[in-house]
């Protein structure tokens, strides 16, 4: 359950069967000033879930989000939202976009900035009150945006995303610059949202990605390196760490990393057998955890 003081709008609560929405990219090349950053990207997304977009710096994640949001026009290929070309205004009304830049106009207080975007969105001040409550930023309302900390700025920026419900949420690094507690709250909020919305979510935090993502879109050198269920990803090496007492002489001290004895296995199916063997030998196991994140391989 979210730690946010306010509820999601009623229409954002998961209710019954989700409406069907679809993002479709066919052979999309896109970039800046004629220079291609993305090349030949094709995928279809239609199941409500969090799709984590991963890739090293400069791989093209932000370019992908900007292309999906209709900010960049593809050089080749097509982007369709619910079958409507992204070039048509109608398709934009199905998207909500959070950039990695705050995008709050200079010279405005937080309350004014949210009202500014509410005006652009065509929604009333009641929606501003609602998102202020949702993100717990009541005390920030009278402050100038420039006076806020990075984390507070991010919260205000995220609040704007919830001014109006959309079917598809494009969230480019929503938890960057946030402290762990707030990052957790945002993740909880996004997880609730993903129950009946399509959410594309980019992050550099692989543990966060693994925690919330159902699908992974890995971008590498502007191309789609992997698209599939995160649960189907296997690391090249499957290594677990065992924190235990009485393991001296049973587990090699050479394999110890901090408090954990590292063991390389062929896969997670071997874990129960190993644990049983160790217990049978009198080892008191305190913790077993995966040491390798399969998502790391997508960065290499």
């Amino acid at each position: 359950m979210s730690a946010f003081p306010g509820p999601l709008p009623a229409s954002n609560e998961p209710t019954g069967a989700p409406a069907s929405h679809r993002i479709e990219l066919q052979g999309v090349s896109s970039g800046y000033h004629g220079r291609k950053v993305l090349e030949g990207i094709s995928f279809v997304v239609e199941e409500p879930a969090i799709y984590v977009v991963l890739g090293p710096n400069g791989a093209g994640k932000t370019t992908l989000f900007r292309t999906l949001a209709g900010i960049l026009e593809p050089y080749t290929g097509t982007v369709r939202i619910d079958g409507i070309d992204i070039g048509r205004e109608e398709s934009r009304t199905r998207l909500q976009y959070l950039s990695h830049i705050d995008g709050i106009p200079d010279g405005l207080r937080v309350d004014e900035a949210l009202r500014f975007y509410a005006t652009v969105e065509g929604v009333g001040p009641a929606e501003v009150d609602r998102v202020v409550q949702l993100l717990g930023i009541e005390e920030l309302r009278p402050k100038f945006f420039s006076e806020l900390s990075q984390g507070q700025k991010k919260r205000v920026s995220i609040a704007r995303v919830f001014l109006q419900e959309r079917a598809i949420y494009l969230l480019d690094e929503p938890t960057s610059n946030l402290d762990p507690k707030l990052a957790r709250e945002i993740r909880d909020l996004v997880l609730r949202l993903s129950q009946n919305h399509l959410v594309l979510y980019s992050s550099h935090n692989l543990f966060e990605a693994k925690e919330i993502g159902k699908y992974v879109l890995a971008i590498r050198d502007g191309k789609l390196g992997y698209f599939g269920l995160l649960s189907e990803l296997r690391p090249a090496k499957y290594v677990i760490g065992i924190r235990a007492e009485g393991a001296e002489g049973i587990l090699s001290p050479a394999s110890k990393k901090g408090d954990y004895y590292l063991q390389e296995l062929s896969g997670p199916e071997e874990v129960p057998r190993l644990v049983q063997e160790l217990i049978a030998k009198g080892v008191q196991i305190r913790e077993v955890k995966e040491m390798e994140n399969p998502l790391e391989d997508l960065f290499t």
Binding site: E89, Y97, I101, G103, G107, T119
Partner: protein, 240 residues
Amino acid sequence: MSYPASNDRAAGTFAMAGTTIRRTAVIGWRFLAIGTGLSLFLSLVLLAAGKTSATFLTTFPLELPFFATLGSMGGLMTFTSDRTKGVFEYLIAYGLRPRTLFADGLLATASMSAIILGLSLTVGLGAAVSRGVAFTVDFWQTIAFYTVPMSFAGGLFISTVGMIWSSVSTPRTGINSPIGIAPMLGIAPSLLVFIVAEAAPKMYFYYITSGAAVAIIVAVVGLLALSARLMGRERFLSPL
């Protein structure tokens, strides 16, 4: 799930212009204050120092466009700031077109010019009336055919050039930037038109001034149409 209708969004775009004008007055308040202050100060000096009302009648209409142009720089400042801060990225994602962003900036610029012009004319003419200045037909014609059109044309011209310039370059601050250079370039059209009109026979004065204002406005519209058509949307993204 309901989606905003396009007429709602059009209303939003219209209402956004009001916010932009207000923000421009906040962001560019120093230019606004200097433009208005200098204009009022010089008007009052002309009235106080002039031995005859002729000094006021000939100089007052000619100085206003320089200060109106100077004071309208907030429009360009707001545009550049919005681009750098990533505001345009959101607005384009909401479906706004680059030409709307340009138009919004120009509307803000024209509003600043209108504020300075309105204040200066009200205070300057009020003070002149109180000093017993008798206004001539020539004076009113100069106001109508030079002062008012050139006050708007000068600001709109330099805002357009500045917006295009800042869109095709890496945003910089300081004097060696579009905003730094704009005030100096901005008064050039008014000055040039004034020099040419003064050098020409008197009978051509109003043709030259009003013709120049129309030509500048046409150039502004042409530049906007061309740039909105030729410039990719990535030109409006923050380089940050």
